[in-house]
């Protein structure tokens, strides 16, 4: 049967083009792959190759013709034994079979819930549980050790995690217990080892990747986002990367611009990632255990200054904290202070001082930034009618910006004042002690913001 040769689309956006030149004439023998014409678009001239073989039966569009629509028949190809009359008799051009209708509006991600948001107030551990005092550093180590004991596919890799016992001593003792097969010192090669770890997760393992600090994870961010976070979606759910990327995030002290950045808002933007940023030792432990078990890639943002802080941690066989559940550290009635990670230190200090002035602040620790527990925040703001957010990261496109926008959309009528975002200053971190202090968010700034939203 005669085949029609259609005007090809040579780029994703091409709709029509000029048939600049025919390189064959009627009666020529055509082989598959042979260049038969030159097509011009506004961008380039391209060669058009034959797909099928046969004899050129009829040229339907003369060379030099402009504005030839994609998919319009431009020639007829005859099979062995056919004559030109078949060309003339050949069927009219089939319309493009590509589905053309615009798809109906996509379903909304979150239909507006008419139900009032409610905070999940279930306690993280049963009342009466025995507690012990631990540093955040020890809690993180215990979380890894416990999960490694229960799942032999869990392993830790990173710079200095094994023999050196961790640049910040988080992995202290793990090499002794688990050996060098599972506690692996890597070369200084963030991009590479983030990729290797992600590949091993595709292959069925559950890696924990320690970045000495998240500043260095910028070299690896392509693997984290393009490979680890997106593969589940791109594979239609066939395979993903169950793994944890963890390490110190945010400003330490006096280490300058390249070593002092909070990446919370960066990673919180990425669908496919989960993001945790604990403040206390119990949250560090409970969330890290959940992160290691999670079948998705988790960004786990720790803080060098918090590593040595002590908190009460429940003594339980298997203590975990779920993602997406904020913690109300302090109940209050006049204002809601929302924070996470080291920002909680300023939030809690501010709340103490504000209480002395007779202002009752409710302090919420988000704990995870993806997913975020919006309900707890909204329920609180509906009660206090005022909100201040606190974080150490840059102010533009911050987590606070996002929380503010959510409150505006979901609880606008409850607000008695605009939400204020306390954040790090919009500057690279300076080295000088006085300037560094100025660049970071401070307790005084939080107090000032609360006074502003409460009109005191």
């Amino acid at each position: 049967m005669a085949t029609e040769i259609l005007m090809p689309a040579l780029s994703p956006t091409m709709e029509e083009g000029t048939l600049a030149k025919w390189l064959v004439k009627e009666g020529d023998t055509i082989e598959s792959g042979m260049i038969i014409a030159e097509i011009e678009t506004d961008k380039a001239t391209m060669e058009f190759e034959a797909v099928d073989e046969g004899t050129m039966g009829a040229i339907l569009v003369a060379e030099g013709t402009e504005g030839v629509k994609v998919n319009a028949p431009i020639a007829v190809l005859l099979e062995e034994g056919e004559d030109a009359s078949a060309a003339v008799a050949s069927a009219p051009a089939p319309a493009t079979e590509a589905p053309a209708e615009a798809p109906a509006a996509a379903p909304k991600s979150a239909p507006a819930a008419p139900i009032a948001p409610q905070a999940n107030l279930t306690p993280d551990w049963p009342e009466g549980t025995e507690m012990k005092t631990q540093t955040v550093r020890e809690a993180l180590r215990d979380a890894m050790a416990e999960e490694m004991r229960s799942d032999e596919n869990v392993f830790l890799m990173g710079e200095e995690v094994a023999e050196y016992q961790g640049a910040y001593k988080v992995s202290q003792g793990l090499l002794d217990e688990f050996g060098s097969k599972r506690i692996i010192d890597t070369p200084i090669t963030e991009h590479g080892f983030a990729g290797v770890a992600t590949g091993s997760a595709f292959g069925g393992l559950r890696p924990i990747v320690e970045f000495m600090t998240f500043n260095f994870a910028m070299q690896a961010i392509d693997q984290i986002i393009n490979s680890a976070a997106k593969t589940l979606y791109m594979s239609g759910g066939q395979m993903g990367a169950p793994m944890v990327f963890r390490g110190a995030n945010g400003a330490a002290a006096r280490v300058g611009a390249q070593h002092s950045q909070d990446y919370a808002a960066w990673y919180a933007q990425i669908p496919g990632l989960k993001v945790a940023m604990p403040y206390s030792a119990s949250d560090a432990k409970g969330l890290l255990k959940s992160a290691i078990r999670d079948p998705n890639p988790v960004i786990f943002l720790e803080n060098e200054i918090l590593y040595g802080r002590q908190f009460e941690v429940p003594v339980m066989d298997d203590f975990t904290v779920p993602f997406g559940k904020a913690r109300i550290w302090r109940e209050g009635t006049d204002v809601t202070i929302v924070s996470f990670g080291i920002g909680m230190q300023y939030a809690l200090e501010a709340a103490d001082k504000l209480a002395e002035d007779g202002i009752s602040a409710e302090v919420i620790d988000l704990r995870t930034l993806r997913p975020i527990d919006y309900d707890t925040v909204l329920a609180s703001v509906m009660k206090t009618n005022r909100c201040v957010t606190v974080e150490e990261g840059y102010p533009v496109g911050s987590i606070g910006n996002h929380i503010s926008a959510t409150i505006m959309q979901k609880a606008f009528d409850y607000l008695d004042a605009p939400v204020i975002n306390c954040a790090g200053k919009d500057v690279p971190m300076p080295y000088a002690a006085n300037l560094e202090k100025l660049a970071l968010v401070t307790t005084d700034e939080v107090i000032e913001a609360v006074k502003q939203v409460t009109y005191r």
Partner: protein, 332 residues
């Protein structure tokens, strides 16, 4: 078609030869059909065809066993067909339909098959290299003798993460074969314009990784090299580099003005070095198959490819709810 001398008498059965012929022809015809569907607007975006490079992946796959893993770039259709993925599922992914390997959510550059141990389909040049070493890491960790194939191009060979990976793969003796598909161009950049030294197979020397170059237009030569590399990896001797010299006949992607090389250069390759013609001739001169038998294979392949195109057109677009699925895996 000029005749080529194959150095040694091929140490393969007629049946194997016919199998390679069939696999290579399937890739060629499938890609031609994909190009056609692209021209009709049924396939969108980027679409990188494998035409000309068929012997590379078919030769390498000839040395694999169940459990071995493979990962490659966006130029991935050939790899998927060669490892046994269903042409219907591949073509339907190209058309962005429900019946595609990724339910239409991945497209030409992002396809996967857990069942066939095909780990994608990656759109970031070079990213598949550490990922491939990671696959090998997982097998070594589990203590089996599987081997992983990480395919990448001559352009990708200049990415820093490739060398980071070479170092770790050698340091940890990972069972990974780095297959550099040197088709002489990275988009419009000829290799000599991007590469300070021409021999990519020597790029592992600094890390102590053995490498060799092989004629990628000769499926038997590729198979032999693959067997050697696989034996090396399975024996626990660490990684291996194969630089496979090949050529892509078509543009880099569908929208390629092709101004960086002459028509004559392409034509010369096609007429003198075509990998499918080469094996066809071997089959005929060696009397392993008759013209009629080969015609029957041609016909069978044509049918498979037509069916895949029909399937890919008939399969519905993904349900709108699919926008919101597969973002997170549920804990089990």
């Amino acid at each position: 078609m000029a005749t080529r001398k194959t150095a040694k008498k091929p140490n393969v059965s007629a049946e194997e030869l016919l199998g390679y012929y069939r696999d290579m022809l399937l890739i060629r015809r499938f890609e031609e059909k994909a190009g056609q569907l692209y021209g009709m607007g049924l396939i969108g975006g980027f679409c990188h065809l494998y035409i000309g490079q068929e012997a590379v992946v078919v030769g390498l796959e000839a040395a694999t066993k169940e459990g071995d893993k493979r990962i490659t770039s966006y130029r991935d259709h050939g790899h998927m067909l060669a490892c046994g993925m269903d042409p219907n599922g591949v073509m339907a992914e190209l058309t962005g339909r429900e019946g595609g390997y990724s339910k239409g959510k991945g497209g030409s550059m992002h396809m996967f098959s857990k069942e066939k141990h095909f780990y994608g389909g990656h759109g970031i040049v070079g990213a598949q290299v550490p990922l491939g070493a990671g696959l090998a890491f997982s097998d070594k960790y589990k203590g089996n003798d599987n081997v992983s194939f990480a395919y990448f191009g001559d352009g990708a060979a200049n990415q820093g993460q490739v060398y980071e990976t070479f170092n770790m793969a050698a340091l940890w003796d990972l069972p990974v074969i780095f297959v550099i598909e040197n088709n002489q161009y990275a988009m419009g950049t000829a290799q000599k314009r991007s590469t300070s030294t021409p021999d990519l197979y020597t790029r592992g020397e600094a890390f102590g990784i053995k490498g060799q170059t092989v004629d990628g237009m000769d499926v038997l030569a590729v198979k032999e090299a693959s067997e050697k590399a696989v034996a090396h990896c399975r024996a626990g001797k660490g990684p291996y580099i194969l630089e496979v010299k090949t050529y892509r006949y078509r543009g880099h992607s569908m929208s390629d003005p092709a101004k960086y090389r002459t028509r004559e250069e392409v034509q010369k390759m096609r007429s003198e070095r075509d990998p499918i013609e080469h094996i066809r001739e071997m089959l005929l001169t060696g009397k392993h198959a008759s013209e009629d038998e080969l015609k029957a294979i041609d016909k069978e392949i044509k049918g498979i490819v037509i069916d895949s195109a029909e399937f890919a057109k008939a399969s519905p677009e993904p349900a709108l709810e699919e926008l919101w699925t597969d973002i997170y895996a549920e804990a089990n």
